[in-house]
Amino acid sequence: MKIKIIAYGIAKDILQTKEMSYELNDDSSIGNLKNVLLEKYPKFEALASLRFAVGEEYQDDEFVLEEGSEVVIIPPVSGG
């Protein structure tokens, strides 16, 4: 299935793009996506945290993605 990945902050630098589409196995979870990303972009390993949002909400590793899901990568935030 195809999902869309949107990246902010340092995640955008690591992916070298703001948005990309990505091919994943059906019924993949956020956890599966995370593993795939960590393998393909080892720089994610070095971050202090790595969170993901779908539907403008943080989602945990168990969250199951579907065809067309938009997943936002949330590297360590630093507002304020």
Binding site: Y8, G9, A46, P75, P76, S78, G79
Partner: protein, 137 residues
Amino acid sequence: MEIKIYNNPINVEEVEQYVYDPNCGGIVTFIGTVRNSTKGKNVVRLEFEAYVPMAIKELNKIAETIMEKWPVKKLAIHHRIGNLEIGEVAVAIAIACPHRKNAFEACAYAIDTLKETVPIWKKEIFEDGEVWVSAHP
């Protein structure tokens, strides 16, 4: 309550005036400004980026939690994004409570939680490079 994220300079007075309540004796404000250095290195300017719709949602959650936990009458959080020069205001949080102790607690909670949960990122631009703040442990 008033939650805003925008590119233009923050008018702190406006933020404070918004929360003014004739029933409250006090307003507590936190103003976050751009520091001129990090670990001894001179910062030239900062760039703030936000995932705006989610950042607004997360700021609203903070505001709602505060309204539940403390007898806050009025609350405003303005966060700026884009390019900021040294000394410019990045965030202003103002809270009015009938009791000042609550206003101090609620304001500290707001900025602490903002820094943990709200998807906003800042990049420090040095003369010889740039760094996403807090990205690495």
